[in-house]
C-alpha cells in the first residue's frame, strides 16, 4: 500500500481514475484514524490500539506515516502550521512516551493471563554439560538445532525434549529467597576476632553470599607494625585487641603506611593500609567483607550498644 502512495505523491497527474479510487479508499481509512486522534488528543489511553498496530519502534513504518498521512492533513487544515512543530508533537505523542505507556499496559495484565497457549513458542530442553543448563525457546526443534550450532557445552546428538505447556511457567519462575539480611540491619558477629561484636550491614551480595559490615575495629597495631618490619609473631601470642575507632594519625605515627582510596563503585573514600585489602576504614569504622555464614542472628541493639556505636549514622 504505502509504495503506491509514494508513486502518487510524486507523479500526481499521472494516475487514472482507477488508481484514484483505490487511493481514496486508503485515504479515508487513514483519515478516520486521524480524526479519532484529534478528538481525544489528551487522552492517551484511547490511542493504545492504534499505537499497537503502528509499532512505533519500527522507524520505517513511522516515517511512512509521517509522509503520507500527516502531510495531507497539514495542507487541509492550516497552511501556515509549522511542519517542524507538527512533527515535534507527533514525536512526543508516538515517540518515547508511548512506549512507556505500552509498558504500563503490560504491567497491569495479570500473570495468569500470560500463561502460555498452544500458539506460543515452545521451550526445549537441550542436553548440556553440567553447570551450563539451558532451555531454548522456539517453535520447532529444527530451529533450536540451528540456534545451538557452534555453542559449547551443548550436546546436540541427544534427543531434545519439549517442555509441556503446563510446566513452561515453572521453568521461568524464581523461588524467592528472602534476603536474610537487609541493608542497615544489625547483627552479631559469629566468628573470628569480632565474635560477639555488633555489626551493621552495609550491603550484601546474594550470589557470592557475602556482606559488607561496619564494625568498630579491633586492630592490633603492634602486630601490624611487626608485620611491616617483617617480624612474625607466633600464633599463641595473638590476643584479641580492644575495640577502638581507627585513627589514621595514630597509624601513620607508628609507621604504618596509610593511603586514602576511592571506592570505584560507591565513590566513597576509605583509609587503606598498603597491601592489606581487608583493612578499609571510614570515619574511624572498619568496613569488612565477610561471608554470610560468619554473621549471626539479627539483633535489636540496646541503647548501651548504640551509645558505644554512636558514630553509626543509620541507627534505627
Amino acid at each position: 500500500m504505502p509504495k503506491r502512495w509514494r508513486e502518487e505523491d510524486e507523479e500526481e497527474e499521472e494516475f487514472d481514475s482507477k488508481w484514484r479510487r483505490a487511493a481514496s479508499h486508503f485515504f479515508e481509512l487513514e483519515a478516520d484514524v486521524d480524526s479519532d486522534e484529534d478528538g481525544d488528543s489528551d487522552d492517551s489511553d484511547a490511542e493504545d490500539d492504534f499505537i499497537d498496530d503502528a509499532r512505533v519502534d519500527e522507524k520505517d513504518k513511522f516515517a511512512l506515516r509521517k509522509r503520507h498521512v500527516i502531510h495531507p492533513q497539514i495542507g487541509e487544515d492550516e497552511d501556515k502550521e509549522d511542519i517542524e512543530e507538527f512533527e515535534r508533537r507527533i514525536e512526543e505523542r508516538y515517540g518515547r512516551k508511548s512506549r512507556y505507556e505500552e509498558e504500563q499496559d503490560t504491567i497491569e495484565v495479570f500473570q495468569q493471563a500470560l500463561l502460555p497457549t498452544v500458539t506460543d513458542s515452545k521451550l526445549w530442553m537441550v542436553k548440556c554439560a553440567i553447570g551450563h543448563e539451558k532451555e531454548v525457546a522456539a517453535y520447532k526443534e529444527s530451529h533450536v538445532r540451528e540456534a545451538c550450532k557452534g555453542m559449547r557445552n551443548i550436546f546436540l546428538k541427544n534427543k531434545m525434549v519439549m517442555v509441556p505447556i503446563k510446566e513452561m511457567s515453572d521453568v521461568l519462575t524464581v523461588k524467592k529467597r528472602e534476603r536474610e539480611f537487609s541493608n542497615g540491619s544489625w547483627v552479631r558477629m559469629k566468628r573470628g576476632t569480632y565474635k560477639g561484636d555488633l555489626a551493621q550491614i552495609v550491603n550484601g551480595d546474594d550470589i557470592r553470599r557475602r556482606v559488607t559490615v561496619k564494625l568498630i575495629p579491633r586492630i592490633d597495631f603492634r602486630a601490624l607494625v611487626n608485620q611491616f618490619d617483617g617480624i612474625k609473631i607466633p600464633k599463641e601470642k595473638k590476643f584479641c585487641p580492644p575495640a577502638r575507632f581507627w585513627s589514621a594519625t595514630k597509624a601513620t605515627a607508628l609507621g604504618i603506611p596509610v593511603t586514602l582510596q576511592k571506592d570505584s563503585v560507591t565513590g566513597d573514600y576509605f583509609d587503606t593500609v598498603n597491601g592489606m585489602k581487608f583493612l578499609k576504614f571510614k570515619d574511624g569504622i572498619l568496613y569488612k567483607s565477610v561471608s554470610i555464614r560468619s554473621i549471626g542472628y539479627k539483633v535489636h541493639p540496646t541503647l548501651d550498644d548504640l551509645e558505644k556505636d554512636h558514630l553509626f549514622p543509620h541507627c534505627p
Binding site: E103, I107, L115, P116, S121, A137, L172, R177, I207, R208
Partner: protein
C-alpha cells in the same frame, strides 16, 4: 525484530554483572556506566556514575537472553516483551530506591517493584 536496536551484550559473565532495577536488563557495571540502560535512558546512568549504583544491583536470580521479545512467550511471561532485545534477569531482589521511584512517577514511566512470594 531487526528494526529494534538491541541492548549491549554483557562483555563478561562474572561478578561484575548488574541488573537494572526497573527493566532487569543485565550488563556489566562498566557497560552501564559508559552507555546507561537502553530501556531506561531517563536514569542517565552514563552521565552520573553514582546513578549506576542506585539504579542497578548485583543481586539477581536467573539469566535469559531474548532476541525477539515481541514474539517470545518467555518475554511476555517475564514482562520484558516491550523492552529491547538483550540479556535479562528473571528477578531482582530489591526495589528501586524511593527517590528514583518518584522520578519515574514524575516522568510518567511505569515501575513495578519485585513481587514477594
Amino acid at each position: 525484530m531487526g528494526s529494534q536496536t538491541a541492548a549491549q551484550i554483557p562483555t563478561s559473565f562474572g561478578h561484575e554483572l548488574r541488573a537494572c532495577l526497573r527493566c532487569r536488563l543485565v550488563k556489566t557495571y562498566d557497560q552501564f556506566r559508559e552507555s546507561g540502560c537502553e530501556n531506561c535512558p531517563f536514569f542517565k546512568m552514563d552521565e552520573d556514575h553514582e546513578r549506576v549504583v542506585d539504579c542497578t544491583t548485583p543481586n539477581f536470580t536467573g539469566l535469559i537472553s531474548v532476541m525477539d521479545p515481541t514474539r517470545s512467550w518467555a518475554a511476555r511471561w517475564l514482562r520484558i516483551a516491550r523492552y529491547v532485545p538483550g540479556c535479562y534477569t528473571l528477578a531482582v531482589s530489591e526495589a528501586l530506591p524511593e527517590d528514583l521511584q518518584n522520578l519515574c512517577e514524575d516522568e510518567h514511566i511505569p515501575y513495578a517493584p519485585p513481587k514477594r512470594i
